[in-house]
Structure formats: C-alpha cells, structure tokens
Symmetry: C2
Subunit: 339 residues, 2 copies
C-alpha cells in the first residue's frame, strides 16, 4: 500500500537504485535459516543438513524470451523464476532460495517493476522459495531478468540427463506444444488469445513441475530427466547425447491438447511438428527402467492430477527417430538459440 | 589448442548455443565436491560442513560497467567475477563456486568470448573458485555478464554492514580513487594509459580483497564491512545507514596514490573529491572497535603487503562529515546507478 505514493508514470531512472532496492526488500520475509538477507553485500544462509545442493542460473531477455509488448510484466517475473525452478525440478530438487539480478532500461515504469515482482514473488511463495538477494543495474538495452535458484536433493537422488539406458521407457509430463501454440496465438493477436485461453496461459505462466521432479527423485523412479525449455525434440536430443543412447518416439502417443490441435487445424500447421519443435513447455521428459514401473506408479500416486504419458523407448546406438503411420523419420532439430 | 580450429572472425551466432556451451565446459575442471557439473539442468554440490553459505549476484553491462571499446574482453571477464568475489570478501567469506550467465549480442566474436573466459577463469583459478554452471543466451542489446558467487564463512563470523558503533575506527584497504583515475585516463586516451599504468590496471583488473576479508573475519577484527564498488562516499553512506550511525572522515588520511594525484594535478581535478566519488576500487571499508586493535594487528600480519589505513571514526547520530584544513563538510553523494 505504501507503493501507491509513487506517481503512476514514474520511471525506474527517476526513483534511483537505492529506492528500487528498498522497494523490493521491504516486501520480503525471510525464513529462520537466512542469517543475513537482502541489503548487505551478500546473503548468509545456514545450509540444509545431510542434503546436496542444486544450483542453476537462467536469464530472460525482453524481445527474446518474452516480449513486454504482449506479455504482462507479472508474467515475465513469474517466468523468470519458473524456468529456474523447472531446472531444479528436472534434477529432482526442492527449491529453497533464489537471487534476482535485474538490468533495467531507464524508461521502464516503476509500476511495471512492481508487477514483475508481483509475478516473481507469487511464484516464489507457491514454491516456498526465499528471495535472499539480488542486484539492480541499468542497461541501455532491453530488460534482462537473471535468476539463480538454489535447491536441495537427497544424496544420490539427483536426476541427471546421463542415466538413460537402452530399453528404458520415455515419459513426458503434461502436454507438449501448448506454450508454442499460445505464443503463436498472442503473436497473431488471435481472437480468444486472452489469459483465459489454456494455451496462452501455459505460455504466459509456465508451471515448473517441481512436485513431479521431487516424487520421481524420492521414489528412485527415473533413470534420467531433463526439462523442456526448447522443445521436445531438443530435450530428446540432450538426453540421448548425455546418456549416449538413441531414442524412438511414437508420434501417436504425444500428449497434444485439444486446444493446440484446434489451433493447428485452423492455421494449417502440423501439430506433431509443432509439439516437437515448440519451446517453453517446461514439462519434464524422463526415462524409466522397465523393472522400475512400480516405482513410477508410486511416484504418480503422489504427483496428483498431472498427466504422465509414455511416448517412446530408449534405443541402442545414437539414432533419434520418430515413428508415425508412414514409418520412421529422423527427429527434426529443436530450437537452438543463436541459430 | 582445439580453439584454433575456429576461423578468426567467427561470431557467436555462427557457432550456436550448444557449441558455445561445450566450448566453455571443456575448459573446466571440477573439484571432488561437485557431483554434477556444467552441462546438466543444474549443478549438484556437496555443501561444506559446519559453515554458513554466502551468496551474491552482480551483473556487468557493456557500456555501463565497462566498455568493450577500450576494455579488453579478458578484463571484462575478470571484472565480472572479481566484483562478486569482492562482495564475498566484504562478508569475510571464502569463495567456493560461481555460476556465469551470459547474454551475448549475435555479432560478438567467438575470440572475444574466449578472451572473456580467459579473464574469468584466471580470476576463478586465483581464488580457487569452481565455475559449476551457467547459461548462454542471445540479446539484441549489449553484452551482459551476470555472475553468482557462493562462498563460506564460519558461523557468527560474517561481516555485515550493520555492526558499526560510535567510537569505532574506520579503515580502508589499499588506495581509493585509483580506478576512477584509470578509467578517466582510458577515456581521455591519455598518453601512458596502457595496461602497464597502475591506475589503469586497477580499473581494468580490480583485485577482490578476499584475503583481507577472510583475515578480518577469522580474527573477529571488524565490527562492520562493505566493499567499495560505487565510491568511498557511497560506501560510508551504506555503512552508516545500515548501522544507524554517523561517520567523520579525515581527508588528509585518505590513501590516494601518487599516480592518481599526478593525474588529478595534470587535469585540474580535486583528488579528494575524486577519491570520495570515484567507483570501481573494490577495496574494503570496515570499522574496528578501539579495544579490538590487537585483533586488527593479528589480521594485518596475515594479510600481507596490502596497506590498511585509518581514515576516520564512527559517530553518534546520523551526520556524515569529511574534515579538512578548512573545517567540516557534508559528505558528497556517491555514484548511484540510474541517477
């Protein structure tokens, strides 16, 4: 409520660095294990006992990973944390803390920064993640939101990309291609492309599959795991490369939502190609040894409503194939930044 | 040596994200406590036993914190880590690991990226800091180097900004104002403004005062501490605000190098004003209780050649004053980003 004292069109340049930092830190509450929180040179925390620490960092750039022209600042703030929590989820880790580093264009409205924080902190709160530190600087370029997330995992329970073996079954959580369809809807300014549309919501507010990752780890169910940031094809390729195996995916098995199919039918695009190539889903792609199907059942009981779909099998060698009614094809390349 | 296979003018956009990441990760060696290093969704580490963890994040933007027009990429890489290690030093922490997140303009030369890493990794190696993870993305804006550094400190030994009390003596390591003079020399294209010039070197390759911070912490010598990123005046102000005290600084006591004095004499600027306002020194500013002078002597014996100069005293109230031959003056404002 103290925020209402700032006139509506004030820019971040007008209120200055120290006030911006104070504006953020006074919104925060620190758990007991944070001994020095934001506002000092660095944060000091009591590490968790008997656990391993999991650390990841990821940056979002306005105009590259989101676009403030059609993405609300709150969604950008949510996404910046969610993509990092998704990386923790892919390791089977439980989020604990985060650091937020913002490079702000001088003309950015303070209200946009507040909304960005609303989105970030709501996501942090939902995942009991403490924002323990950060940095604010100016940039002559676009807004850059850099987040570092730290989590915990039990010893020997981290899920890596490297554990898949021939014969393992390949699974994916949720639906693939929704976010890409949602982004296409937003870009096209499509009728109905509101935040109420499921695909648009999936693009704007990706949900990190933290609970699924945790349960797969706790039950020892997954032999390997990766999160889908740059599309299913890219995820399959990363997993296969790290594990030195091949993969074979059944296109008929891919969990593609009815809304995405309807969009593709209307725009004349192939839903399977879109699902393989489309990024931003932040689902978990993982493999399970056939003899560990019982463990997967155990994990599923604790994961709740999130669908988990078997989409293929790990193969010997290094070939990456998709199989449909017409036969076997080479996996198309995934999205790669810089390409 | 495998790096020589890339033609000299190749840009980062031409070789792509995966190859860029591989290019970095194959240069790295992981200590035993890193269970999963770069290349997976996140790093997994064994936390140190019986210690507190210290975390900080800081971003450098081309054109704001350095300028590739006159700062070599290796110096930018060094600086990006050094400024974070400086934050750890100000907490009395020992560096352990770092994460590096790069937002790269498409036209950046791969050789510049390699040099940036040379500088970063040389600094990391000098401080036994493992680069355990990171991220690479593209940006339509300037190069942004975001680093998160993690260190350790013994329980109850962290140095904060908040512990200064009236009567404490104020000290600073090294010399103040050298970096600002070096930057001015570079900007002016001054004769002799080469990397061999002491001030220019201080600007290009700031040394994080890790050893000094560690010894101050180990000996329980400092009641408060902050690093000087935005100038001495800003550091004094931060420390006074956090500790709810005032400060009184003797301008005649300020450790200003002969080279900086000569530069100011030649350019007609006041060396004291420059030393108070000039950023980028990354010295430590700290306070010591008078009865703990013996502890400070103990710390100094282990710190080595780095000068430590008493520059003033902590006062009751909240006034920030500098005293010179003409009397007492209000402390000038320090550099503030966005102002």
């Amino acid at each position: 409520l103290f925020l209402t004292t700032t006139p509506p069109h004030t820019t971040v340049a007008e209120i200055g660095e120290h006030e911006l930092i104070a504006r953020i830190t006074r919104r925060l509450e620190m758990p007991a294990w944070v001994e020095v929180g934001p506002g000092d040179d660095a944060a000091v925390v009591k590490p968790p006992r008997g656990l391993r620490e999991v650390l990841t960092t990821d940056a979002l750039v306005d105009g590259v990973h989101f676009d403030l022209a059609f993405v609300p600042a709150a969604a950008a703030g949510h996404r910046a944390l969610a993509v990092n929590l998704s990386d923790l989820a892919a390791m089977g880790a439980e989020p604990r803390s985060a650091l937020l580093s913002l490079a702000l264009p001088a003309h950015l409205a303070v209200t946009a920064l507040d909304e960005l924080l609303d989105g970030f902190l709501a996501c942090a709160s939902a995942h009991r993640t403490a924002l323990i530190g950060g940095n604010i600087t100016q940039t002559p370029g676009p807004l850059v939101i850099n987040v570092t997330a730290v989590g915990t995992v039990r010893p020997r329970r981290a899920l890596t990309r490297a554990g898949a073996r021939p014969g393992d079954e390949i699974y994916v959580t949720g639906a693939v291609g929704d976010a890409a369809a949602g982004l296409a809807m937003l870009r096209a300014g499509a009728a109905g492309a509101t935040a109420e549309s499921a695909c648009v919501r999936r693009y704007l507010k990706p949900e990190a599959r933290v609970r699924a990752g945790l349960q797969l780890s706790h039950h020892g169910a997954a032999s390997s795991c990766v999160d889908l940031s740059d599309g299913l094809a890219d995820g399959l390729r990363q997993l296969a490369r790290a594990s030195s195996v091949g993969v074979e995916v059944e296109t008929s098995a891919l969990p593609i939502s009815d809304q995405a199919r309807a969009w593709h039918a209307a725009t004349g695009t192939d839903p399977v190609t879109a699902a393989l190539g489309g990024g931003d889903d932040y689902e978990l792609l993982f493999t399970v040894r056939p003899r560990h199907r019982g463990r997967l059942r155990g994990a599923r009981r604790r994961i709740g409503d999130l669908p988990i779909t078997r989409i293929g099998v790990v193969t010997r060698g290094s070939s990456l194939t998709v199989r449909d009614a017409s036969g076997c094809h080479e996996l198309p390349p995934g999205f790669e930044h810089f390409r």
